[in-house]
């Protein structure tokens, strides 16, 4: 190549490089997402993923973060530990994301979080509710929902103070750590404040026949004042229906698993009298933010959010984004530090304070009553 051509080529290359410079600022910001969309956890994590995708879409439509779009890289956890751990490894070491959100099960979170922690990548748990998950993981572990203790304590207080229920029957899914936890916390608080648990019963994940438990309840003499149903999503409506149809009129209090639009439909409107539950957000609230979220979700997917985990997924993205906007730069460490500075996050699942590195965020628990086939907000409370 002659000298002239060579210099021309160099000049051209430099020109292209110069033009490419500002293009680098459009380079997407990579966030990782681990949600199981197959397997038994798909029921709760699929809505979380969908809502997270919606959030990313909204944020990118508004210009992204500091001018750069977000690219969410999702891996299916397949409700399997090895796949979730692999997903975390991929995101950290192959895709090189700067932050991760994911999973709605504490066990799954604990399986994947150490990988992010070791690499110094902030990892936000979307739905696992063991109260001290961040402490168990380390400085880069965070969680979006309130802890099981908050939810159960609010329920216990509600039972005693509002329903004036002095005796309770406890039903729980023995195979799930979450249901065991809220049952245990409920019992702890309830007995601490003077209530009495008259009997307990355990069912198993996958069971749909609660007749044995229902009969157990019916056989109690006198009937308990309230039933605390620590159940997983899907089981709630089935149990409520079976209980009511067997003639049990005792109020039933459930956890956030009850928070899905199919509760009334599947249990039957007549049967959801005197049913209450604690949850992360009121899906049918008239509050501005929540309604906008529900409408946006409906517009995007054709159906309203399937359960509260959609709201948690949505908020997970927005929290990360808020941290990224507040961070001094887009390094994982800076983003992580920024999370701790967020004390009044305004999410659809309520206001939250993320400054405690050891615990679930200090958040209000939403208490809902089912009246005339509709969800009615009783209030937002903290224990």
């Amino acid at each position: 190549m002659s000298n002239v051509l060579g210099r021309f080529a160099t000049a051209a290359a430099l020109a292209v490089a110069a033009l490419a410079e500002p293009a680098a600022a459009q380079e997407p910001i990579k966030i990782g997402a681990i949600y199981s969309v197959t397997g038994s956890y798909a029921v709760i994590e699929d809505p979380a993923l969908k809502a997270a995708k919606l959030a990313v879409k909204e944020i990118n439509a508004q210009g992204g973060i500091k001018g750069r779009p977000i690219e969410m890289i999702h891996y299916d956890g397949k409700s399997t530990l090895a796949d979730i751990a692999n997903a975390a490894q991929r995101l950290v070491h192959e895709d090189k994301v700067i932050a991760i959100i994911g999973v709605a099960d504490s066990g799954f979170y604990l399986a994947s979080a150490p990988i992010a922690q070791d690499a110094g990548i902030p990892y936000l748990d979307t739905g696992g509710t063991v109260p001290n998950l961040p402490e168990q993981v380390g400085e880069f572990g965070h969680m979006m929902p309130f802890g099981d203790d908050y939810q159960a304590f609010v329920a216990a207080d509600f039972a005693l103070n509002d329903l004036k229920a002095k005796t309770a029957f406890l039903l729980r899914d023995a195979d799930s750590d979450y249901t065991r936890a809220i049952a245990t916390f409920f019992k702890q608080r309830y007995e601490e404040k003077g209530g009495k648990i008259v009997d307990e019963s355990s069912y198993h994940t996958g069971d749909t026949d609660y007749s044995a438990h229902v009969t157990k309840i019916r056989s109690l003499n006198p009937q308990p004042d309230v039933i605390y149903a620590a159940m997983n999503p899907g089981d709630d409506a089935t149990f409520v229906r079976q209980a009511r149809e067997a003639g049990i009129t005792v109020p039933i209090i459930g956890g956030d698993a009850f928070d899905n639009p199919d509760l009334v439909k599947n249990a039957g409107a007549n049967n959801t009298k005197d049913v209450y539950f604690t949850t992360h957000m009121a899906l049918t609230s008239d509050g501005g933010k929540v309604s906008k979220f529900i409408d946006a979700y409906k517009a995007e997917y054709g159906i309203p959010p399937e359960n509260a985990f959609a709201g948690l997924g949505y908020d997970s993205v927005y929290l990360m984004v808020e941290a990224m906007n507040k961070a001094s730069d887009l390094s994982s460490k800076a983003i992580n530090d920024a999370i701790f500075t967020i004390t009044n996050f305004a999410g659809v699942t309520g206001a939250a304070n993320f400054s405690d590195p050891k615990r679930a965020p200090d958040k209000e628990v939403t208490l809902i009553a089912v009246k005339d086939g509709k969800f009615e907000l009783i209030g937002n409370r903290k224990p």
């Binding site: 969309v37 197959t38 397997g39 038994s40 798909a42 029921v43 699929d46 023995a174 009997d199 307990e200 019963s201 355990s202 069912y203 198993h204 996958g206 749909t208 026949d209 007749s211 044995a212 438990h213 009969t215 157990k216 019916r218 056989s219 003499n221 899907g234 089981d235 409506a237 089935t238 229906r241 149809e245 067997a246 003639g247 199919d262 439909k265 599947n266 039957g268 399937e306």
Partner: protein, 298 residues
């Protein structure tokens, strides 16, 4: 509720559940009796059957039509699978069939998941089925009665089929001695096919009832009942038709009574007890309650 009423109620609960298991177990048992094949996909055929019947229900069809739709769908799917996958394998080792059925199970679950969604679904509630039915202090719903009634009817029908019709006779001959039956001119592949059709049809019945009774269907709803039904079939005597029914009832009663009468701390281990019973049955009376004095020990 008096203790006796409680007992009766739990008995009723267990029987209804047991008949459901029995319906599913019949198909499994017949296939095993014929082919020595553990069909892991049987429960998933049940699921596909009821999933395909769901739109029929949502369009407002009454229960009998939905049931028919479920039966047809399950039969079609079961037959299709048998014809395309198990039939070519008819001369293979049982392990091959078992693994093929595992593959089919996985395929069905994930195809249905991909085509629908993970969210639980239910048929349109049927007011007749949902209506309560009370005897004394025992609360049931019409759907429970229908389960028992139809299960009994189908069992009698299948029994009649096996005893009184030529294909039925042929199937019984096959399950006793395949080579001899073949030598007698029985067309083995066709009989096996009929067997699968019957088993799948019964599974379809169970599937639709599960949909109406529990109102909670996911792509994964078939697998566990399928496995449990197999346990039931073994307890009752695998390969034996009455054994499947009795085994199902025993399993249903066992599950309900263990929960109803054990303190919660112990009742949590329910599934462990069930399988412990299964193992004991296998050790003490391996051919199950009704099984032929087959060679079970080696």
């Amino acid at each position: 509720m008096s203790a006796f009423t409680v007992f009766l109620q739990q008995l009723a609960n267990g029987l209804v559940l047991g008949f459901l298991y029995g319906l599913i177990a019949i198909g499994l048992s017949m296939i095993y009796g014929l082919l020595r094949m553990i069909n892991f996909a049987h429960g998933d055929v049940l699921m596909v059957g009821v999933f395909m019947a769901l739109p029929v229900s949502w369009m407002g069809a009454p229960f009998p039509i939905v049931l028919l739709a479920g039966i047809l769908a399950a039969t079609a799917v079961g037959g299709l699978i048998q014809w395309s996958i198990y039939r070519p394998l008819i001369r293979s080792r049982d392990v091959t069939l078992l693994v093929a059925s595992l593959g089919v199970s996985l395929l069905l679950q994930n195809l249905v998941l991909m085509l629908t969604s993970p969210q639980p679904k239910r048929p349109e509630p049927d007011p007749f089925l949902d209506a309560p039915f009370q005897i004394g202090g025992v609360f049931l719903r019409n759907v429970d009665l229908m389960i028992v009634a139809l299960a009994v009817a189908f069992v009698i029908g299948t029994h009649w089929f096996l005893q009184k019709t030529r294909p039925g006779l042929a199937i019984r001959a096959l399950s006793q001695d395949l080579s001899a039956a073949r030598m007698m001119g029985i067309r083995v592949p066709r009989m096996v096919f009929i067997c699968f059709l019957i088993g799948s049809a019964l599974a379809g019945v169970a599937g639709v009832f599960i949909g109406y009774k529990y109102g909670h269907l996911t792509p994964y709803s078939g697998f566990l009942p399928g496995v449990k039904a197999f346990v039931a079939a073994v307890i009752g005597g695998i390969g034996s038709f009455p054994g499947a029914v009795v085994g199902g009832i025993i399993l249903g009663l066992l599950e309900v009574f263990l929960v109803g009468y054990l303190p919660d701390q112990l009742a949590q281990f329910r599934d462990a007890y069930v399988f412990l019973v299964l193992i004991l049955v296998l050790l003490i009376r391996p051919s199950g309650l009704f099984g032929r004095a087959e060679f079970v020990k080696a």
